[in-house]
């Protein structure tokens, strides 16, 4: 009952936000529309002259482009809204998959399922991305689907069908956002470990081959057209990786300001506080706020205080998410469970890939640091939070009431920010 209520509320929230959010305020909105238009109307991939996000894989743009075409044909406006609703639907699917992932791992722990679901649903980065005209949530939904199939197969036994399903889902995820590739690598690695133990390599071969059939042509095209399968819309600066970012990028010296004034331009390009402020709030001011002010201009104090409140609210859940990932790794090692181990492995792969990306492509305006770039880790983080809280919560009636109260508070305090 509670699960159904959360999912209905989440579906309503995401649809409402997608309907009311100005599509042009989302990340790369105009470039995304140019891409979708090029794919749908001209049936080709965009060149760097056509769209600034030409380096992004085409699946979401093809779907959004078809919806855009239909909206234009029927006179629905704005033509980008169906693409936003697609992102919202994918955001809801992510929440459902988090729930299913929890049920797959610990079927009888209902409180754990609910905690994981609530954490995912109330994550501001997911809610914001679900309103944007942007491919991120679709990629996360597809990758989380692949992760779920893989966890099920690792818990039971890989079959040709589960290998095919996981390969298709992860391949399509890779065809939507490159952030899905670390998930594919983690699943492939876990499947290899399982195959090594069982002496059955055919399912792994099917999984990898299926994913490569889907994502391979895109990567080959990028290699041939732009010189790298992971080409980006700017050249990496020359020189060693060690010198591309200053020490402040790694250390985050202005971390305390992320709790007090978590908006641009403060602590720009300081990885941890910048990412944290953008995950729990809206560092770049693209959500329910005026655009970033020009020099000398003042931001309304309510904009800053609302985001500061978000930063404070996010402290405990962030620690719990990290704790959960560590705890899942410890449980996986203790039980020799590849199925559980796949989750922290995925989180580490996504975090490592993202950090490498942010170091390889430094930017003066901080546009390569966004909370939504780490959404691929949300399903694992959600399961981690659910696991830690459910495992450590007091079992008395008072303890249960305290846990429920804390979860309700976590959601209610965020509602003014999450609802547009």
């Amino acid at each position: 009952m509670a699960v159904a209520a959360v999912l209905v509320a989440q579906g309503t929230l995401l649809a409402w936000n997608a309907w009311h959010y100005d599509w042009l305020r989302g990340y790369d909105a105009y470039a995304n529309d140019q891409y979708a238009s090029t794919v749908a109307d001209e049936h080709r991939l965009p060149s760097p002259d056509d769209s600034g996000v030409w380096h992004t894989p085409p699946l979401w743009f093809a779907l959004a482009g078809v919806l855009r075409r239909a909206a234009l044909d029927h006179g629905w406006g704005p033509a980008q809204r169906p693409g936003q609703l697609l992102a919202a639907a994918a955001g809801l699917v992510v929440c459902v998959l988090v729930l299913l992932l929890g049920r797959e791992l610990w079927p009888d722990r209902r409180a754990f399922h609910l905690l994981a679901l609530v954490f995912a649903a109330a994550s501001p980065a997911l809610v914001r991305a679900s309103a944007m005209y942007h491919p991120e949530t679709l990629a996360v939904a597809l990758a989380a689907g692949g992760l779920l199939v893989a966890v099920h197969a690792l818990r039971t036994r890989w079959t040709i069908w589960s290998s095919l399903s996981a390969g298709v889902l992860l391949g399509l995820a890779g065809l939507t956002r490159a952030w899905a590739l670390p998930v594919l690598v983690a699943v492939g690695l876990a499947a290899c470990l399982d195959a090594w133990a069982r002496r059955r390599w055919v399912p792994v071969a099917v999984l990898v081959a299926t994913a490569l059939v889907l994502v391979g042509p895109w990567l080959a095209n990028e290699q041939l057209a732009h010189g790298s399968p992971l080409a980006f819309n700017r050249d990496a600066p020359p020189g060693s990786l060690a010198h591309r970012r200053p020490a402040s990028f790694y250390l985050g010296p202005r971390t305390l300001r992320a709790l007090e004034h978590p908006v641009t331009p403060l602590f720009r390009n300081e990885l941890v506080p910048h990412l944290y402020a953008d995950w729990w709030g809206d560092w770049a001011l693209t959500w329910d706020s005026p655009p970033p002010p020009a020099p000398s201009e003042l931001l309304p104090s309510s904009v800053v205080s609302e985001r500061a409140r978000q930063s404070v609210v996010g402290l405990l859940p962030s620690v719990l998410a990290l704790a959960g990932i560590v705890a899942l790794a410890l449980v996986a090692v203790a039980r020799r469970s590849t199925a559980i181990g796949l989750l922290p492995l995925t989180a580490v792969a996504v975090a490592a890939a993202y950090t490498l990306f942010a170091v390889v492509y430094p930017s003066t305006d901080g546009d390569t640091i966004k909370g939504t770039y780490l959404l691929m880790a949300l399903p694992v983080a959600s399961v981690g939070v659910g696991f830690v809280v459910d495992t450590l919560r007091p079992r008395s009636r008072a303890g249960a009431a305290l846990t429920v109260g804390a979860v309700v508070l976590f959601v209610v305090v965020q509602l003014p920010f999450l609802v547009l």
């Binding site: 250390l251 985050g252 010296p253 202005r254 971390t255 305390l256 300001r257 992320a258 941890v272 506080p273 002010p293 020009a294 020099p295 000398s296 201009e297 003042l298 309304p300 104090s301 402290l315 962030s318 620690v319 719990l320 998410a321 990290l322 704790a323 959960g324 990932i325 560590v326 705890a327 899942l328 410890l330 449980v331 090692v333 203790a334 981690g384 696991f387 830690v388 495992t391 450590l392």
Partner: protein, 133 residues
Amino acid sequence: MTERRAAALGLVGASVVALAQLGVGTGWSLSHDDPSELELTKRCLAREKGFTIEDPTDDAVAASAQGGALRTVVEGNLVTLSVATSQQEVERLRAGYEAGDPGDRLDVRGRYVALWLRDPTRSQRQDTYDCAY
């Protein structure tokens, strides 16, 4: 290892990481002061424009500005520049000066409230705009 022990260890590990990050932030905050808008403006007017900066001593409105205030001479025209920290404060400073009927000598732009000795030229105003943060 029990699940409870794993969760507890995870919580300890995550807390250590979080506290270390907060420790870095605290250490930096205690040992460094990020320059205020006023300091940045003073630095800009002095270094990039070559103006002499003074503290306004006889201006009760400027003295009450939460972000501080400065006085300088721009192309022969004396200006007192106050920095507000909120829109309400901007309005308070504006009202404080408007009691003296300054006309075009009062120039409000964003968080900066400028009172000129004589009506400023466009070039004089631009010099102060160039050093606004």
